[in-house]
């Protein structure tokens, strides 16, 4: 086969060749083993690492759900605005921290360059608003009111505006249908903070950097439902971050819509008349302080009796919730939080607390009956009541002889309750309470739900206060040091009080129990608490957790979660007592302290019940309270430093009822004009595509001329000592002065 002879193949070479072959095989086996180890044994781990390597997440925020009124009218929704934002990360990369770019931007947007610069700085404890309190990595909105022309300028010259974007964005809007502002009930949004992101990281609803979070009101309570679920698009990127494909993505799930029990029309009416009542009060002279009433704050609640649903809730002073959209300006923020503005962010219907005055009296009435007194028994109503040299006057300093508890409610006789409370106090041991002290008057107040939240679905509700023995003790402990330091025997009034408090502030004194019995002294309630109590009297005794939210409807309209009325207790009264009190409160409206405000009211068709209250506040003008109810609705109004209950709040409450029932001043009903003669039971209609039908709504216009100009700011609560005469000239049978009316009422009972 070959002509080359076999030459010396030494065994050495043969052995070495075999060694080479073994080496080669072992090298290959090494590689194979390692390959198996990486790919088969640890493959999954590496696969995970690989996907983390090249998947970038881009988040599409979900469109926030709308807040709708009971008929579907949006009171908070979204609209598209051109938002100009600046990326801090990009700006900080520039030599001058982006100052030049921002100045140019301010020029294009016709804004103050300082404003623009302030908006992109980060908030800290020393930086005043405006500043950015969201994530520094998130684009910071400069304005959401860019015109298309401005947006175009920025986009076309993008090289001149590095880090600046102009995008159409869904922006929160509070459209104020029918001029209903509803500000404090709606609340507002602001960007999520780092803290919140960290806290919510492992929950089922984590925050995104770009999230806006509800800070108060419904926006906060229903934040989770409204927010929806952000969509995540996962892009596969290459080593330089360039997108090379799309991985599994989650669509954004728009937030659910929240249907509330608010009726935008009734809300507008409530706001209008609350404001009107406060303005009128400011025109009234207060003889006690020698100046006009300040009427610095007020609130009104309209509630459905059988469900506890809130039909309207207004708080004054108010603000435009749209001020928060797109970042609040420094000026606006100062305005909203300044003392001068009297804190318009507060929802005084749930966060304003004051002594209730005489609208409290249903509680001592129930307490007395529960303590064993007969509702229809006779109790002396002298003009004043004295304990140990201290005289507690009936406010109008007028006696009514011996009257029933019902009549005591009707004429708002204080001395009846003084004596009952004082007697009970003495029975419980007076200054040295018995261990088994019954404390009927305090226990009953707690049973009425006072001193704790009603559980309304709005955040930061305050509790009010029942000044019972325990509270006295706690309060004394907390304050005794200051009192004892300030107190001086025989010093000025405040010093004497402090001295007294220092010595025996821990004790429930006789005077405390007397003051307490008519809702004075240290007693504090919120309008929503009183609305809950009065609506419970109206509905047969069930105290509902007040609710504003009525249903949560998913964006596609397919899932409806109704928020059912929930009761938190029963009034501590039996059916008979309830009926008795109900009757007495009707009498208040027809012939008692509130009667002059309900002249011409169609009592046979729409039975009205009312209780007036005028609470004294040390160092301030009196608080006006007015609690009323019909079969379906309860309305409670209060005006701080506003005057008397029926005087300041009476006309406004009546106007709200007129609008709800479609009544004119003479009490003639026109159902066509009635806004809500019966509570809205059904939810708004949901279309197949998930959208919700909303009826057109016209801004509320009060009936042409307000006929009651120069109306009396009389004191029919019977709590003003001077018996001021109202002006004459009223048209609905209120010509009588209230004193005469009251005298007549008392005369009637005596005749009975």
């Amino acid at each position: 086969m070959t002509n080359i002879p076999e030459t010396g193949r030494t065994p050495r070479v043969q052995i070495r060749l075999i060694i080479i072959q073994i080496l080669v095989v072992s090298l290959l086996l090494t590689l194979g083993g390692r390959l198996w180890y990486l790919q088969v044994r640890n493959g999954e781990e590496y696969a995970k690492e690989a996907s983390g390597n090249h998947v970038q997440q881009v988040v599409q925020p979900a469109v926030r759900g709308s807040i709708l009124d009971a008929r579907g009218v949006p009171i908070a929704d979204n609209h598209t605005r051109l938002v100009v934002s600046a990326s801090r990360t990009d700006l900080m990369k520039m030599k001058d921290d982006g100052k030049a770019v921002l100045a140019k931007l301010a020029d294009v947007l016709a804004m103050d360059p300082k404003d623009v610069a302030d908006k992109v700085r980060l908030c800290d404890s020393k930086t005043p608003q405006p500043c950015w309190n969201g994530s520094p990595y998130q684009p910071i909105p400069i304005t959401d009111e860019a015109t298309p022309k401005q947006a175009l300028q920025i986009r076309e010259r993008s090289e001149d505006f590095p880090g600046i974007t102009a995008e159409p964005t869904a922006v929160r809007r509070y459209p104020a249908p029918g001029k209903s502002n509803t500000a404090q009930v709606l609340g507002y949004l602001s960007p999520v903070t780092d803290d919140e992101i960290n806290k919510a990281k492992d929950t089922d609803s984590p925050f995104l950097r770009s999230d806006q979070v509800g800070r108060s009101g419904l926006e906060r309570t229903y934040d989770k439902q409204l927010r929806g679920k952000a969509g995540v698009t996962r892009y596969e990127v290459d080593n330089l971050g360039r997108v090379i494909g799309t991985a599994k993505s989650d669509e954004a799930e728009p937030g659910a819509n929240v249907v509330t029990s608010i009726d935008a029309r009734v809300q507008a009416v409530s706001e209008y008349w609350l404001n009107d009542a406060m303005e009128k009060a400011r025109g009234e002279f207060d003889k006690n302080t020698g100046e006009n009433y300040k009427a610095d704050a007020g609130a009104v609640v309209v509630m459905e009796n059988k469900t506890g649903r809130v039909v309207s809730m207004a708080s004054n002073p108010s603000y435009d919730p749209n001020a928060w959209v797109g970042g609040i300006s420094g000026k606006d923020y100062a305005k909203l939080t300044g003392k001068k503005s009297n804190y318009p962010l507060l929802n005084r219907a749930i966060q304003g607390q004051a002594a209730p005055g005489s609208i409290f009296k249903v509680i001592p009435t129930a307490a007395a009956v529960n303590a064993g007194y007969d509702f229809n028994g006779r109790y002396p109503c002298p003009s004043s009541y004295s304990i140990g040299g201290q005289t507690f006057k009936n406010f109008e300093s007028k006696g009514h002889g011996s009257i029933t508890l019902g009549q005591a409610l009707e004429v708002s006789c204080d001395t009846v309750f003084y004596k009952l409370s004082h007697d009970q106090w003495a029975k419980d041991g007076g200054n040295k309470p018995k261990p088994d002290a019954k404390d009927w008057f305090y226990k009953t107040a707690h049973q009425f739900g006072l001193g704790k939240e009603t559980g309304i679905d709005l955040p930061n509700e305050v509790t009010g206060r029942v000044p019972d023995r325990q509270w006295k003790k706690d309060y004394w402990k907390a304050n005794k040091d200051a009192w004892c330091k300030q107190g001086k025997k025989g010093g000025e009034y405040s010093e004497r009080i402090a001295y007294e408090n220092c010595l025996e502030g821990m004790k429930m004194r006789a005077g405390d129990s007397v003051n307490y019995s008519i809702g004075q002294g240290d007693t504090l309630v919120t309008p929503i608490q009183m609305a809950t109590i009065y609506s419970a009297i109206a509905n047969g005794g069930t105290m509902y957790d007040p609710t504003v939210g009525k249903a949560i409807i998913s964006a596609d309209g397919k899932r409806i979660q109704e928020i059912k009325p929930k009761a938190h207790g029963k009034l501590p009264m039996d059916a008979e007592l309830r009926k008795d009190i109900d009757g007495a409160l009707a009498d208040v409206a027809t012939r008692g302290t509130a009667a002059w405000r309900f002249g011409g009211w169609p009592q046979d068709k729409i039975p009205m019940h009312a209780k007036t209250g005028t609470a004294e506040v040390y160092g301030k003008q009196t608080t006006s309270w007015f609690a009323t109810y019909t079969k379906d609705y309860t309305i409670v109004m209060t005006i701080s430093q506003g005057g008397t209950g029926s005087g300041a709040s009476g006309p406004a409450v009546r106007k709200i009822y007129d609008a709800i029932y479609g009544l004119d001043d003479s009490g003639n009903q026109d159902l066509k004009k009635a806004l809500l003669p019966e509570p809205q039971k059904t939810l708004p209609k949901i279309e197949a595509d998930g959208s919700i039908d909303a009826p057109k709504i016209k801004p509320y216009k009060p009936e042409a001329a307000e006929p009651k100009d120069g109306q009396p700011q009389g004191q029919p609560d019977g709590q003003q000592p001077d018996g001021q005469q109202p002006d004459g000239g009223q048209q609905d049978g209120q010509q009588q002065d209230d004193q005469q009316e009251l005298a007549g009422a008392v005369a009637n009972w005596r005749r009975d």
Binding site: G8, R9, V13, L28, L31, R34, L38, Q39, N53, I244
Partner: protein, 398 residues
């Protein structure tokens, strides 16, 4: 297709040529087909991998995602032709031309050190020819070192004078290898130097040189390595590569990045891989040089353990057959050449795949047949040609 008893008139000469080509004792019949098919298969897999690795890299391939793959096929074709040429000439004929070939290849590596040389990927190992072509002379030096050393070492033994090369011959052959190795070291192309050192070792082993030389050389290699390290011949990037090998977690965005990403790519392939062009590491170009030095990561990710294992298996076939050829050939010259090629292929494949698997430091070496790159492809196919020539024992022409 054409049986011996089947003839078509008018096609006589062609048929008879074909018949001769396919005759029992013809060269074609005697070629080592398993090795050849394995090498072709490797080049074919390489084409697919190169395609996957470059299809979306428009900065390389322009508008045609297949352009690199097609060039790979073209390189393979040229390599295949070179192989046929090599077989045709025969390794014995080439033996006479070794001094000329050696001279040319040393000249070419020297050229790299002149301004004509170009630096690609940190290695100053290239001569740019223009028109998008470039040459890596160190690839050809590998062949001429093998041929040159084999020529010197086998001369006396094949002539029947000695049964193993004497010290003088060994020294001569080492000197012959040392010249181009030193030049390549100056480039510096450390990977090629390592391969060449392995070739020298393999050649010496197969030549039957005394054990003293073999162990001496191993010792010299270690000493040389230490010296290279100490004397600062290595560039920073080369030191960094070794450091990253020692501790891959070190600076994962920098030096350790390659090895880290390579291991993620291979590991994530699992048993069956993501499928060609479906690998996210490859598509995202997380592994640098994934069509050349790190081509095995593409196989690992997209073809999985099955595909990457197949590459190992095919390399195993080539090397196993080469070993068989080395053992079966009757003359020492052929044995030495085959052993040199085995050392070359085996070490280069081990180093290349080993670095992607994280068991070897990173060095810029292509995977034989699979990696994209003309010079390497031509050289390995010429080497296959040499092996085939040894197998068929074609007598010297002329």
């Amino acid at each position: 297709m054409t049986g011996s008893g089947f003839s078509v008139s008018g096609y006589g000469p062609e048929r008879s040529n074909l018949a001769r080509l396919l005759a029992r004792d013809s060269i074609v019949r005697r070629l080592d087909w398993p090795m050849l098919l394995a090498a072709i298969a490797l080049s074919g897999i390489g084409t697919a991998l190169v395609y996957s690795a470059t299809r979306n890299r428009t900065e390389l391939v322009g508008d045609d995602p297949y352009s690199f793959a097609l060039k790979h096929v073209l390189n393979t074709g040229i390599g295949f032709a070179l192989m046929i040429g090599t077989v045709w000439l025969g390794h014995r004929t080439l033996r006479t031309a070794v001094p000329i070939l050696y001279g040319i290849s040393v000249f070419l590596v020297l050229l790299v050190l002149t301004p004509l040389g170009a630096t690609i990927n940190g290695a100053h190992a290239w001569i740019v020819l223009g028109g998008g072509f470039s040459l890596q002379p160190s690839e050809f030096v590998k062949i001429t070192i093998i041929l040159g050393m084999a020529m010197l070492l086998a001369a006396r033994v094949d002539a029947g004078d000695k049964d193993h090369p004497d010290h003088r011959t060994v020294l001569q052959s080492l000197g012959l290898a040392a010249v181009p190795i030193m030049i390549v070291l100056l480039m510096p192309d450390l990977g090629s130097v390592m391969v060449m050192a392995m070739i020298v070792l393999g050649v010496l082993l197969a030549s039957g040189a005394s054990n003293r030389w073999v162990f001496g050389l191993l010792g010299a290699g270690v000493a040389g390595g230490v010296a290279i390290w100490q004397l600062g011949v290595l560039d920073d990037y080369q030191i960094a590569r070794f450091a990253a090998f020692a501790n891959p977690a070190l600076d994962p965005a920098g030096v350790g990045y390659n090895t880290n990403q390579a291991r993620i790519a291979i590991g994530s392939g699992g048993l069956t891989g993501t499928g060609l062009t479906k690998g996210s590491q490859t598509t995202g170009q997380f592994v640098p040089e994934q069509q050349t030095d790190f081509v095995f990561t593409v196989a690992g990710e997209e073809l999985g353990f099955v595909g990457a294992g197949a590459i190992l298996l095919l390399l195993g076939v080539v090397l196993w057959r080469a070993c068989a050829i080395a053992r079966e050939t009757t003359e020492l010259y052929g044995t030495i050449v085959a052993a040199g090629i085995i050392a070359w292929f085996a070490f280069q494949a081990f180093e290349n795949i080993g670095m992607t698997l994280g068991i070897m430091p990173v060095a810029g070496l292509p995977l034989p047949f699979v990696s994209y790159g003309g010079s390497s492809m031509f050289a390995v196919w010429v080497a296959v040609g040499l092996l085939q020539s040894i197998k068929v024992q074609r007598p010297m022409s002329a």
